[in-house]
């Protein structure tokens, strides 16, 4: 009986069935959608799939599987013949049936113990409408069919028999011999089953094990009969030759013999047919479970299976690979062998040039081989996406919502392991969107939306990663409610929450123990899940992002690496070892010159933080995290010595030796002591700079101080042994080109190791305090902080700057009394602030300097600065009195220093007054008069700025401090254009715009928003409110150009 116990056969069957099942769900849903307009090709496909499963299951003694498949097949057959029109109810029954099949196929050994009666009766009930009166009359009657040698082989519902005879089919019992007809012919039973199915339908099949026992005593011919109840349109004489079975083993069951005796009068008829015997048995109450003679034998097999559980199925999954890919792999393997031969030859003949060529070739072959092998692991994401059709259908049904699911980018491929791992998180997200996101149809209609909600699942490639987006047009995430939840559960402090942006707030849903659903539903809302989703995706190296707008919808974006086996990484060194950091976790690399360490790295409590574009970033040293002895490279001798410094911001400790030496040298040279100090501060030795790798650990970033940055490489991830399993700092190891091992750092693990989450929070708190201190009702402004002279700090509004270039001082040319530099094929006029304003002179001798490039009067000019310090957002008050002078707008305190706000326009026009004429010449002059512009601005400084230049070019400015006042002015005066700030007390610019847009009197009135908050999101908000233009404050050029555009 090796044949049936053969695990390989079972495995092959399960695998094949699974493959059949894969497509079924999608197809069924498509069938449902088509309704009466049946796509017969599609129905056939599903039918055939179920059919194959049934055939195989019967053979393997998986009775339950067979029965369910059979019931489903009957239903589909009617659909196929157009006798039944698929209804959603019917599809639901079918889907449930297939679910059951699927779960039974997952554990075939126990499948016969599963209770299938519910699905069977549901499937049978669904048949009802199609049956003719006579067919219906005896739906539970059973017929036994058999050959003369073995009567009662098959016990069938008379209904099934009737169904199988539809369409002019003949019914046969085929008797195969497992040994002679199958094994000896080098076929597998599954092949036979498949072969048969090409010519007809297998109604039932059975292996008679009892017969084996009997026949074994017989020393003669041994037979293991395999009976197949086969329905086909073929005639008996050609069937034999077609399926390669001797006619004597084909028994025709004549249609007449199958006609039911009249209902109510069940009699047993023993037909004396020459080819087959038929017995009609009265229906028993428990029809599906009646035991035909051969069944116990089949059961035995099932029990036997149980004692030897089919474990390998779970462990070693197999993969189907396109033959083309295999062929390609074969070719590449051939190439590889060839290359090896060439290499051996080149090496033995010491032919350097040959080795070079071969190594190039090897490089090529390897990459191609890598690519091909990877492609065998790649699977389309559609495999998962298509499952959601069902999920969404079922969910929307149970929640009585209408949802249009759009799936895009099914063909995008990801590594098998990733595909398998993202299934659950994605399901969760989709469920959430359906359950919480999309509203009830009535609500949607009330809110002016289409009753049918939209859910879009899409996948696409971007920068070597795959982006998956789940987008709905539902209610969006109620961040207010989230806030309340977080506060009521004491998960965070009020102050922390207040400081968060909408995006950050939305990300709170990933916090453990949080659920916003008002009611806990079946589907979601149990307060677990989203955090798990986040963790799971982060583990995969994925990054999750949320974008939500109340009432508009939510988009969740997931960035995933293509594969986990080979990953691009940044190689760094620390101490004497090399480490690899996966590129997906890498945000940016920052190098802080030794001279800036003091300003940029600070200590908050015991935590190190770095200032990066105005944000504070928690810092850790890799040496601390891994307990490595710190070494530093002596800037003088380039020797590596142990570093005993404890505080990073304390630079003196390290350099003492060197400083002393320096002081001695300087004293010998007779330089005064003060200058010594300065020269030390100024000294920027490249080897003592800090290399910081900014990493993303899920929802926060941190900086890792490393010794050196090496190349970025594609590395092969090798797992670590069991003894190192508890080392959370590593994600694995890799072997580098020189054979050395580099450990792969686990970015999340490292941050946990150093309890960085708490540090991140501390930093946030500090930031808030800092913000509170500085908050003065002004809106924040992004400034470029520069130095003109060493101790005179200046600021330039970043919004006005086109570019910053570093140039060599020697490249500056003086032509016609003006400084210029050759730049992008033309000349760029250069200006110095000290030409205009009474400030310190820039050091002209310095080797290099920076040029801040900005546009004016239709061309680009540059202002020369000696150093760039930082870029930051600030809402410091601008003092426009104390330092006000030509070229300087005012001053503010930044980094505890008085910082002059440079008037770029002022500097240029003071030096070149004719250019100012150029910019104003095309603007209206006094004669236009009467063009009234309302300037709405709460900051006195900006108000003066804007009104000044508006009146400079001949418009009449009106002033209002906030939206409320602006509306009053609008009522009283004839205003031709409104220039408004966004952030204002009482009524902000957006609200003001909405009010203006809502009032007919001011229809067509241009509204230009001027703000310091630049960015697409802000701009979009402005446009949604009805703003015509969105401009940067102090961008005089742009503002004037737009004024001209709107006022003619």
């Amino acid at each position: 009986m090796a044949m049936i116990d053969d695990e390989e056969t079972l495995l092959a069957f399960v695998e094949e069935s699974k493959e059949h099942m894969d497509g079924i769900e999608t197809d069924l849903l498509a069938i449902e959608e088509d309704g009466a307009d049946i796509d017969s090709e599609l129905v056939n496909k599903v039918f055939r799939a179920v059919h194959s499963i049934k055939g195989g299951a019967g053979f393997l003694g998986l009775d339950n599987v067979k029965e369910v498949a059979h019931a489903g097949e009957n239903l589909l057959n009617l659909v196929r013949n157009g006798e039944l029109i698929p209804t959603p109810e019917m599809i639901t029954v079918l889907l449930e049936g297939f679910d059951l099949l699927n779960s039974m196929l997952n554990s075939p050994a126990t499948s016969n113990d599963v209770d299938i009666s519910e699905q069977i009766s549901a499937l049978k009930n669904a048949l009802e409408p199609s049956l003719s009166q006579e067919e219906k009359s005896s739906p539970t009657n059973e017929i036994s069919l058999g050959t003369p040698d073995a009567p009662n082989l098959f016990t069938l519902d008379s209904l099934d028999v009737a169904l199988s005879l539809k369409g002019g089919n003949n019914l046969y019992i085929l008797v195969y011999d497992l040994i002679k007809d199958i094994e000896k012919k080098n076929k597998t039973p599954l092949e036979v089953v498949n072969e048969l199915m090409q010519t007809g339908d297998i109604v039932d099949s059975k292996v008679d094990i009892d017969a084996v026992g009997k026949l074994e005593d017989d020393s003669g011919e041994r037979r293991v009969p395999f009976y197949v109840l086969f329905a086909t349109i073929m005639e008996g004489d050609i069937l034999g030759s077609f399926i390669g079975l001797d006619d004597s083993f084909i028994h025709l069951i004549s249609p007449e013999s199958l006609i039911q005796p009249q209902a109510g009068e069940p009699i047993s008829v023993q037909e004396e047919e020459p080819t087959a015997s038929i017995e009609t048995a009265p229906a028993e109450p428990a029809a599906p479970k009646s035991a035909p003679p051969a069944e116990p034998a089949v059961k035995n097999i099932a029990k036997k299976k149980k004692t030897a559980p089919v474990k390998p199925m779970v462990k070693d999954s197999s993969l189907r690979v396109n033959v083309k890919i295999l062929d390609n792999l074969m070719t590449l393997a051939g190439e590889l062998v060839l290359t090896r031969n060439q290499l051996v030859q080149a090496v033995s003949s010491r032919n350097q040039q040959g080795i070079d060529t071969v190594s190039q070739r090897l490089n090529m072959v390897t990459s191609e081989l890598q690519e091909s092998i990877m492609s065998t692991r790649m699977q389309p994401i559609g495999n998962i996406f298509n499952k959601f059709k069902r999920v969404v259908r079922d969910l929307s049904k149970s929640l009585s919502k209408k949802i249009n699911l759009i799936i895009e980018g099914e063909e995008v491929e990801l590594d098998k392991t990733i595909i398998e791992a993202i299934g659950d998180p994605l399901t969760h997200l989709v469920r959430n969107s359906v359950d919480h996101g999309i509203e009830q149809p009535e609500t949607r209609v009330v809110n002016g939306k289409d009753a049918q909600g939209l859910l879009r699942l899409s996948a696409y490639h971007e920068g070597g990663q795959v982006i998956i987006a789940i987008e709905d047009d539902g209610a969006g995430i109620n961040t207010e409610k989230l806030k309340e939840k977080v506060l009521s559960q004491n998960l965070m402090e009020q102050a922390q929450i207040d400081a968060m942006s909408t995006k950050e707030l939305a990300k709170l849903i990933f916090m453990p123990g949080l659920s916003t659903a008002a009611e806990v539903t079946d589907v979601s809302g149990r307060g677990v899940g989203m955090d798990v989703v986040n963790t799971n995706l982060t583990e995969l190296g994925g990054i999750i992002d949320i974008d939500t707008a109340m009432g508009k919808g939510t988009t969740i974006t997931i960035k995933l690496p293509l594969t986990l086996a080979i990953i691009p990484s940044q190689i760094i060194t620390c101490g004497k070892e090399r480490f690899a950091i996966p590129q997906v976790n890498l945000v940016e690399l920052v190098r802080i010159p030794a001279a800036q360490v003091k300003e940029r790295i600070e200590k908050i409590g015991s935590a190190l933080v770095m200032r990066l574009r105005g944000e504070l970033l928690p810092l850790i040293r890799l040496t601390d995290a891994l307990d490595i002895e710190r070494i530093y490279t002596d800037p003088h001798t380039l020797e590596e010595k142990p570093d005993r410094r404890t505080q990073i911001e304390d630079r003196r400790g390290v350099y003492r030796e060197w400083d002393d030496q320096l002081i001695q040298e300087n004293e010998e040279n007779g330089e005064p002591a003060d200058e010594r100090r300065q020269s030390r501060e100024r000294r920027t030795n490249p080897v003592s700079a800090y290399n910081i790798v900014v990493l993303s650990a899920g929802d926060f970033h941190y900086g890792l101080i490393v010794d050196r940055l090496l190349d970025s490489e594609e590395i092969v991830v090798k797992p670590l042994g069991s003894h190192l399993r508890d080392c959370k700092a590593y994600a694995g190891a890799t072997i580098q080109g020189d054979g050395r091992i580099a450990m792969i750092l686990d970015v999340v693990g490292l941050s946990n190791l150093m309890s960085l989450t708490t540090v991140a929070e501390k930093v946030k708190n500090q930031l808030q305090e800092h913000e509170k201190k500085t908050k003065g009702g002004e809106d924040s402004q992004t400034l470029l902080i520069v130095l003109n002279t060493e101790d005179e700090q200046m600021a330039i509004p970043l919004g006005l700057v086109s570019r910053i270039e570093k140039i060599r001082s020697s490249d500056i040319e003086i032509t016609g009394g003006r400084k210029n530099i050759q730049y992008r094929g033309g000349s760029l006029p250069l200006f110095n602030v000290d030409e205009v304003a009474n400030v310190g002179m820039r050091d002209q001798e310095a080797e290099s300097c920076y040029v801040v490039v900005f546009p004016i009067a239709g061309k680009e000019v540059g202002i020369v600065m000696s150093e760039i310090v930082d870029i930051l957002d600030t809402n410091e008050m601008v003092d426009d009195i104390t330092h006000r002078q030509s070229g300087i707008l005012g001053s503010m305190i930044i980094f505890d220093k008085i910082t002059l706000l440079v008037d770029l326009y002022g500097v240029v026009t003071t030096v070149m007054p004719e250019w100012a004429m150029l910019t104003t010449a095309h603007s209206p002059t006094e004669e236009d008069g009467g063009t009234n512009i309302l300037v709405v601005e709460d900051s006195k400084f900006f108000m003066t700025q804007i009104t000044n230049f508006v009146s400079d070019v001949g418009y009449t400015p009106f002033q209002a401090e906030d939206g409320v006042e602006a509306l009053r002015v609008l009522e009283e005066e004839t205003i031709h254009l409104v220039l408004t700030d966004i952030e204002m007390p009482n009524m902000d610019g957006l609200e003001l715009t909405r009010q203006i847009r809502a009032d007919e009197r001011w229809a067509g009135l241009p509204v230009i928003a001027v703000t310091s908050v630049a960015g697409e999101a802000a701009e979009q908000k402005g446009q949604e409110a009805g703003v015509d233009e969105y401009l940067i404050k102090l961008d005089r050029e742009q503002i004037l150009a737009k004024l001209k555009k709107y006022l003619g």
Binding site: L720, G721, H723, D726, C727, A729, I735, G739, R740
Partner: protein, 150 residues
């Protein structure tokens, strides 16, 4: 290749190596290879008995310092040191030893059960004691040695 089967045979082949002043033996059937390459990459934050990892023909092998395992002081790598590679489950593990001395044939009947400790090293690490002409040889119990957590 369990302990039972090797024990029932009369003659066992033992690879002998030295850890500090102790001679240890390991059934050769358990030894994959003896490697004189001792370029070990340290793994920081690993358990202290893990000396590091090694590139064993493209696979990462964990190197266990037997001295540390026996609660002795670790010593710097020297030329005589070898890595005895054994297999545990699906991974290779290297045992760092002071030197490999010999391979002998031992009559398993001469292997006595281990005392509770062998020169200060807990007896659980040993399967038995084999008496050689002049010396004692402790036969290592690999399973216990490689148990990850202690």
């Amino acid at each position: 290749m369990t302990q039972q089967t090797t024990q029932t045979e009369d003659i066992r082949e033992l690879a002998l190596f030295q850890v500090d002043d102790m001679i240890c033996g390991l059934d050769t059937s358990l030894v994959q290879e003896i490697n004189k390459q001792t370029e070990i990459t340290p793994v920081h934050r690993a358990p202290d008995y893990v000396r590091g990892v090694m590139n064993l023909r493209g696979e990462i092998a964990t190197i266990i310092d037997l001295r540390k395992k026996f609660k002795l002081e670790s010593i710097n790598i020297n030329k005589k040191m070898k890595v005895v590679v054994v297999r545990q489950g699906s991974e290779n593990i290297g045992l760092l030893v002071d030197s490999v001395t010999d391979v002998i044939m031992a009559d398993s009947r001469d292997i006595a059960p281990p005392p509770s400790n062998v020169s200060g090293v807990p007896g659980i690490f040993f399967e038995g004691i084999y008496t050689m002409k002049e010396d004692l040889d402790a036969v290592l119990n690999v399973d216990e040695l490689l148990r990850a957590g202690e």
